[in-house]
Symmetry: C2
Subunit: 207 residues, 2 copies
DNA sequence: GAATAAAACCGGACCAGAGTCCGCTTGAGG
DNA sequence: CCTCAAGCGGACTCTGGTCCGGTTTTATTC
């Protein structure tokens, strides 16, 4: 990942529907951005362990309290960082090129989903672990992926408790499981993927 | 879980094969025991958050350093606690009554395995989470269960990459997944179990 | 456009708990 | 009894997280 963090530049006017979260004050927004950049740089240069709340604050030129107000906790900060790649991933599922994006047939999309998730999870493993949330990505992120899988399973006419089957497909792709297999047991990523495909086949295969 | 911790009483002579870890000194052993008891009581009476290393040490009447020397870390302490129930569970798999123990046919044993694991995991959820290890039980404990599943799958003449399929069966039974389903999504335990059984069926079903 | 009041924000002192260190004590073998 | 490795304790450090008095931004009013 590059040092440069692509923060969305000046999105169109927020259109303040009333009853909505009031927009952030200008200085607050500036600080949030500075903090995210600082954190990302810290990760890139010194590894995730160097990402101390105090270090981030210092590098961004603000006080520690500010970091906590903006991101709630260390996990929250990590989650925010993770959010960028997660959002990009979601975009490529929604409107990217097939087979991950729409256009391919459901089975191919499912296969592409598995491969893609496997890879992004491995790449962001440190971040995901640090983001905690009981270890999984934020609920929003998780449920998007789950929804996608349920959708594909439905298109594939899978019978049974689709939500649970979706979970069964996603669980083996979680960080800890992957870590165990790849780092501890030394299983290659390709073999893990083949295994996952086999699992998917068994789940999808008509009764 | 009762307050009383069944520490194994005087196992048969350790038979010091040389090159082995030298046995613990008497005072050390006494302290380890006292610490485990103290920790368990603290959990029972005040919840897992009250289990501070300092609190445990104080309750056991020793210094903080001692706790760390014996258990390495908070996670280690939790792991040691978890070890008791885990060991008991392993015993009932190895030599308990069917269908969990030997004697029943492999499919029934697999089903019993799933149910049993689901329940013990839910019961010890706090402890498992606190024991960390990237969230899963210790490697030894994990690999025993994995071995058992691989064994059953083999008996059931399942074709394919059995180790990976075993992982696929265990992953949905991990704490975080269960937490997500039961606590966040409000799915009942019975339904989760039914879903798991269905998964198992699809994995086992001959091609 | 200036004055003003309220709300949001800021910083860093402060607290708690995990983990480390090192000089003192104790238990087990000779 | 003597020796010395092992064990012990608690002071110390480091980091996540909380708090509150002072400051800045924004909205409002004239």
């Amino acid at each position: 990942m590059s040092d440069h963090l692509d923060l969305p530049t000046r999105r169109p006017v927020p259109l303040p529907l009333l009853g909505d979260p009031p927009p952030e004050r200008a200085d607050a927004a500036r600080n949030r951005e500075a903090l995210l950049v600082a954190a990302q740089e810290l990760i890139n240069h010194c590894g995730i362990d160097a990402v101390t709340m105090e270090a981030v604050a210092h590098r961004a030129g603000v006080g520690k309290g500010t970091v906590f107000r903006r991101f709630e906790s260390r996990e929250g900060l990590m989650g925010a960082l993770l959010n960028f790649s997660e959002t990009a991933w979601q975009a490529s599922v929604i409107s990217g090129p097939p087979p991950l994006g729409p256009g391919a047939d459901p089975w191919d999309r499912l296969a592409a989903f598995g491969r893609s998730r496997l890879e992004t999870t491995m790449v962001s493993a440190d971040l995901i672990r640090a983001a905690g949330h009981a270890g999984t990505r934020s609920y929003a992120a998780y449920s998007f992926a789950a929804m996608h899988v349920r959708h594909l399973l439905a298109e594939l006419r899978v019978e049974g408790d689709v939500p649970l089957l979706a979970t069964a497909l996603m669980a083996p792709l979680e960080v800890w499981v992957l870590d165990q297999q790849v780092r501890v047991e030394g299983i290659g990523v390709d073999r893990v993927y083949e295994g996952w495909l086999d699992l998917a086949r068994r789940i999808v295969r008509p009764t």
